[in-house]
């Protein structure tokens, strides 16, 4: 059994990261600080607010692409390489939500990138034996 090529792993990782970051962003667009959420009905109604709906669709894509990636890669590989999304969310907050990025936050972003580079460059995505799915 051969491991999937790196290119496929990278493509799948890109979909996981982008759908998560933009999903979170659209959720926040649809849920400003004054949003009232107390009864279950209010939660369900809020799901049909257009920005929230778009966020939910992206988060569903996020979960499906993450499951696909996890079908051939270790959790301890997927966690750090997808953490590049934290950097993306900070940049999105800065660019579209007028959130400020302090020096401390930039330092954190650099540490996250360094951690990602260590894990994704240095080890194979999977350390356990996996069979091919019967489908």
């Amino acid at each position: 059994m051969s491991a999937p090529p790196r290119l496929r792993t990278w493509l799948c990782t890109a979909v996981v990261v982008l759908s998560n970051a933009f999903g979170d962003f659209f959720m926040k667009r649809g849920l400003p600080d004054s949003t009232r959420l107390s009864t279950p009905l209010e939660y369900v109604t809020m799901l049909f607010q257009p920005w929230v709906t778009l966020g939910v669709v992206l988060l569903v894509i996020w979960q499906l692409s993450r499951m696909t990636l996890l079908s051939w890669a270790d959790l301890s590989y997927v966690l750090p390489v997808t953490s590049v999304g934290y950097v993306l969310v900070a940049l999105i907050g800065w660019a579209f939500l007028n959130e400020s990025i302090s020096v401390t936050r930039w330092a954190g972003i650099v540490l996250i990138m360094a951690g990602v580079a260590l894990v994704s460059g240095g080890s194979a995505p999977s350390t356990v034996h996996r069979h091919k799915a019967k489908s």
Partner: protein, 120 residues
């Protein structure tokens, strides 16, 4: 209230993601991306008890995240959820029996430190 929601979100995310990783390993590699094959994979996954458990945990995590977002900044809610990294890397080693080598520990530690700085 804010930290209670963070605790609920982190706890349910950790359980959900460990179950998801276990379920996908149990399922095996997805290597066929034609529509019919993806449909068959989805119907198999819908009957995978690890995946069912993970979907329930993720739903709890999702609504806690939704409530948290309605109260706080995106730049607070997202980085704070990265506490799950440390917990999940440890669980990946002891429950999923992955070989977490020195490089992965170092990378995970850097990520956790970085996330802490980002959320300051």
């Amino acid at each position: 209230m804010k930290w209670l929601l963070v605790a609920l979100m982190v706890g349910s995310t950790t359980v959900g993601e460990i179950l998801q990783a276990a379920g996908m390993r149990h399922h095996g590699q997805i290597h066929d991306f034609r529509p019919g094959a993806i449909g068959r994979a989805l119907s198999l996954l819908a009957r995978n008890r690890f995946v069912i458990g993970s979907v329930i945990a993720m739903a709890i995590s999702f609504f806690a995240f939704m409530k948290l977002l309605s109260m706080t900044d995106l730049s607070f809610a997202v980085p704070v959820s990265a506490v799950t990294y440390a917990m999940e890397t440890v669980l990946a080693k002891y429950i999923l029996k992955e070989r977490v080598n020195a490089l992965r520990w170092a990378g995970a530690t850097l990520v956790v430190c970085g996330v802490m700085l980002v959320s300051l």
